[in-house]
């Protein structure tokens, strides 16, 4: 005797969150059944393996049928096939678009192309996440990217509006889209210690301050691209390191301000010119797309690593960057205050965020 056909359809679609997670994680029906069995569900409800298998199959079918709708969450809300209460819909969408930290770190800043998708089996092998789940996450990234890439208006809100995600998840996706668009390098060994959250924070800073939308958000523009004009203006900051007098004056102002206030004063004093050169050179090079990609590498190599080598505390870094930014205002002949502030506020918060082990 064998079961040829076995279906269960509810007027209100029944969806077990636990099975949904197993499905999202890319487990096969058989794997899912054995995982569920390990949870002791059989004993708890006094049931048998075939009941569990039938239940899992039903759920998997339902999820497969909903998947097409989940690709366009606004369709899920408006579809007629499944009657799902709004809070369940929100749960389905949120979980479908959720991603694994390990996975996103592998893909962040990479081009969301077919080539990358082909490499997903490596990612899967490396992270231990099933290939199926990797593909879903990758496709989510790509889908969101495609939809909001050319769209006008604020990125986060575009994501939220089109994919009905929570605030937090929408911001994460904005970061992913932003990184993918500018192709920031995040995979280098030196950057491995950084978490997705670090990058997402930095992305948020960049979006808020360095894109065209940052200046005037009513203007029709794209939030994903950096403000070209601003990047051009950054070249003017070079004066801070090319003008010898100004460099010296800047250094003395910073030293005066920090004396006795930081533990690594001597190291700071000795290293000031290097640090300042590093920071200004990053700014000056941002007009080149290649250098934009290396933005985070540069921050780590030019600023964070030297400081770490001298055992600066994070409070020292904060004090230094604050003083460094503010002192420039007092410099005679420095006329790029606005650009300077716009540049440094992002640099400061990024470095502080990234300054950890």
């Amino acid at each position: 005797m064998s079961v040829e056909l076995d279906v269960f359809v509810g007027n209100t679609t029944i969806m077990d969150e636990e099975v949904y997670q197993l499905w999202l994680d890319g487990y096969t029906v058989n794997d899912a059944v054995s995982i569920r069995m390990k949870s002791g569900i059989l004993e708890q409800f006094g049931t048998t393996e075939d009941v569990l298998e039938s239940d899992t199959m039903d759920h998997y079918r339902t999820f497969q049928m909903t998947e097409r709708l989940l690709h366009h969450p606004s369709k899920l809300v408006n579809q007629v096939l499944f009657q799902i209460p709004p809070h369940r819909q929100a749960m389905l969408i949120e979980r479908y678009y959720a991603f694994d930290e390990a996975f996103v770190r592998e893909v962040l800043g990479k081009k969301l192309s077919k080539g990358t998708k082909k490499d997903l089996d490596d990612v899967s092998a490396k992270t231990g996440i099933t290939l199926k789940s990797c593909r879903r996450q990758f496709d989510n990234f790509k889908r969101v990217f495609k939809v909001v890439e050319e769209m006008k208006g604020p990125l986060v809100e575009n994501v939220q509006c089109n994919f009905l995600l929570s605030d937090k998840l929408a911001r994460d996706y904005a970061a992913i889209v932003f990184f993918a668009n500018s192709r920031f390098e995040t995979g280098k060994k030196k950057l491995q210690y950084l978490t997705f959250e670090d990058f997402a924070f930095c992305a948020c800073q960049l979006i808020q301050n360095w894109t065209v939308g940052a200046v005037d958000n009513m203007v029709e523009d794209m939030d994903v691209d950096l403000d070209k004009e601003f990047l051009q203006d950054l070249k003017d900051l070079k004066i801070l390191i090319t003008d010898k007098d100004m460099l010296d004056q800047h250094k003395s102002l910073v030293c005066t301000g920090l004396r006795g206030k930081i533990q690594v004063f001597n190291e700071m004093e000795g290293n000031f010119k290097n640090l300042s050169r590093g920071l200004i050179n990053i700014a000056a090079k941002l007009t080149n797309t290649k250098d934009v990609r290396d933005f985070f590498i540069d921050l780590v190599e030019k600023v964070i690593e030297p400081c770490k080598a001298d055992r600066w505390l994070i409070s020292d870094v904060r004090a230094f960057l604050t003083q460094y930014t503010n002192s420039a205002r007092a410099l005679d002949g420095f006329k790029h205050q606005a650009v300077w502030e716009r540049y440094m506020c992002v640099i400061k918060s990024c470095i502080l965020k990234m300054y950890h082990d």
Partner: protein, 1052 residues
Amino acid sequence: MPGKLKVKICAGRHLPVMDRASDLTDAFVEVKFSNTTFKTEVYPKSLNPQWNSEWFKFEVDDEDLQDEPLQITVLDHDTYSANDAIGKVYIDIDPLLCSEAATVICGWFPIYDTIHGIRGEINVSVKVDLFNDLNRFRQSSCGVKFFCSTSIPKCYKAVVVHGFVEELVVNEDPEYQWIDRIRTPRASNEARQRLISLMSGELQRKIGLKVLEMGGNAVVGYLQCFDLEGESGLVVRAIGTACTLDKISNTSAAQLPACNSPSKEIKEAPFSEDPNPNTHSSGPSTPLKNQTYSFSPSKSYSRQSSSSDTDLSLTPKTGMGSGGSAGKDGGHLKTLLRQQTQSALEQREFPFFTLTSFPLGFLIHAGGVVSARSVKLLDRIHNPDEPETRDAWWEEIRQEIKSHAKALGCHAVVGYSESTSICEEVCILSASGTAAVLNPKFLQDGCLDCYSENRLEDTSPPSCGFCHIPYDELNMPFPAHLTYCCNCRRQKVPDVLFTTIDLPIEAAVTGKGCLIQARLCRLKKKAQGEANATAISNLLPFMEYELHTQLMNKLKLRGMNALFGLRIQISVGENMLVGLASATGVYLTALPAPGGIQIAGKTPSDIAYEQHISNIQKKINDTISRNKELYEIHPLEISEEVIGSPIPEPRQRSRLLRSHSESSDEVSELDLSHGKKDAFVLEIDDADAVEDILSLLTDAPLPTGFYSCNTENMPGIHNWTSSIQMFTTVRVFRLNNVNVTNQGLNKCFNDLCENLLKSLYFKLRSMIPCCICHLNFTVAVPEDELIQVAATAVAMTFDKDQSQEILKSNTAPMKAISENEEQLQFPMELSSDSPSVQTFPPSKGTGLLENASPQTIQGTSRATSVDYSSFADRCNSWIELIKLKAQTIRRGSIKTTPSLDKASPLAEGHLRLRSTPSCTDSTVTVVKMTPLSFIPGAKIIKYLGIINMFFIRETTSLREEGGVSGFLHTFIAEVFAMVRAHVAALGGNAVISYIMKECVFMENSNKNQAQCLINVSGDAVILIRESEQEGVPIQTHGSTNQTPQSGGAPVS
């Protein structure tokens, strides 16, 4: 030209891509009714076209209006080749023809294609202007209301219950016509869908005509089925109960459902003439006033029907207030009454009622189940206009049922239903029902006028009256063991009672009920024609016998003594017959406690064997006591002495008189029920059989927190909370073993059913504590070695803590009745009052008392205290969530240009806040569905018409669609979606009495093909939450036997 149908095509959304090059569609719409077709403009290059067409007007006969469905076809325009059909929508416009149902059909309908399923939606508005008084046209029957529900619809009262209506129409099945050889399967399936839709309309119209002829205005318990007879044709048949219903217009009256219309006495009460509705604001706490105003004169004048003048009401004088008059001169009156009833019913060809629950006082006695089956060989229907053969077949069966009922001393059959099972050219026709004695007052117009003042013979309280035997104990139609009723101790009751109806709400019950199934398979040799039919005929009695035995044993094993909602289904396949009987077992307080089961070995020679037997006996005894615990069956111990000395039965004489008119020589169905002894003793002839019997008897126990039944109400559970989950489940099993034996087959089938139940319990575990209601399995044998089981049921949560409390308070008065002499006298007192009504001019007080009290009883017993607050909470949080969502979305949309299309979440968010569905509304209305006639925590305020839909789905890419399960899963979900959409378009938010009448699944895995055909029906309704009435029904609930006293207070 009595009608103008107007149709407007507004817009489409989510259309499929029809042009691969542009990824878009150039859609237009054809609107067809009868022979007229209109077209919209082509809306180029869009998946969300906005046609905004003019109103297309069809001027048509009302006959066509009833028969024809509105057919809407969405097509993709193609300049060079033929236009491609995207899909179709059939809209049944019948609900618009009845003034009390829907007034406009307007909403988003899924566009359905037999190959691709749902492909987007289309927004359509439909209106009908009727010109003439339609009653003059005898070919049409516009205005007759149809209800699938097998009880009197909640916001109506039954003025007269006229009786049985039936009709059938036949046609050739398009799939078997010669043209099918040259057309695509898709075309033939579409032709079938269209034809069945047309035939359903015609059938409904013809039934409506019969109802009008009988003087009724509605059909309740309407059951339409179709038989796919293959080569020999397609039969669509329907049965129902014709009634004259009056709408309870007053809202407060509606809140006491199935409310009785006031009697004449009330009409004469001076203040009842006061039509001022404002005074009514005193609220539902004063039942007297409600009663009065529900009968405001303005309303009775507005009714044109003659029946309202005579005002034949469901006057509730029957149950409680009876006994006294019978004591004095009841003898001859009763005989008269009986004759009256008899003649009232004999005027009808078939005194059958498809209802399964009744207004209080309607059902006097239930005799037992009557059923009849016959095996027929199908032949081609030569003249579709005169389907005499099929009519004659059913006629034959109904006659048999009628005579069975007569043999049981009953003049009517209630809970009546008919079904067929077809395999190739053999067809089993089955009919079953419950023989019953009914109160004639409901049945005929003239009857009440002469006899309304006379009390009925029934002296018994309603909690047990229906159990009393209707047949004569000296002239019993079958051997049965009779005892005096344990409740009133006045009349005789049988030891067990089987019925097809729902448990009457007023019945006294001990403990909770449970689902009982008997399952059976029998092998049959493959044969052709006559030989096959004979073989089947020969097997049928054995199957019925065994099913009956199984039911009886399982009932005893649960310590119960009555079955309700019994459905026995026997399906025929090529090489086997499958039988499945489902019922809800219950312990009726009135019936004697069931004895245990004794095992008797046939070869009592060796000791080991005897040991074995006694082990089994012990197991059985343990099971019985465990079940008693589980179902809380703790009947009062009634001492033998009391039973031995019953209260003298005053009407022995009349009982004898009555027996003359009865012929009890008819062979009754219950003859199978072999006398008492057999039911108790299981004889075992060989050791193998022992295990089999044991395994068959001991079904897997219910998981804690679960109950199940196959009836409308679950005995012993009253306090439903608002959470419900309706579902459809289908399973097909393949029997691989080549050499199957009957026993092996039985075990397979038994396991199948048990596993299905287990799966349900597991799936619904999040709803615990809950009860799965209306759990009826449908079996079929689609192919040689396949067995298909399908079920549509609803799981409803209830409040466990409250349940115990209410159970106590509920049973306490019932017990009190049986214990306390004073209480017993109460109904007598009431009725000794009542003759005064007969002789003197009716006093206002008595009239009110009589009418008000039972009404309250009904109200309370239905109210079944619901957890309103949690329902409200849940709804609130839902709305909060929606609002929240809308807000976030709106916030996000500030910078978005408004060029986003309609389906964007922005529009959605806004629209979701709107509560009433309108034409432009793009939301998907939440539609609740249930196979029951009510939804807990909500009140039905309007019936919008019947939903009767038929779909065929086919595929040629079975594997790609997820195999057979994936295919059927999608299809069932689509059927739900289409039902919901149609209900929403009618302005409704729920479907009640929903059933899946047919699910025919065929597959050919080798060809990667499958086809399925589903027929569903139900009543579309508008529900509102009951929360505003919180407290009132709960308060009155459970105080059943106190209500008359409080109602009587104004008299003194």
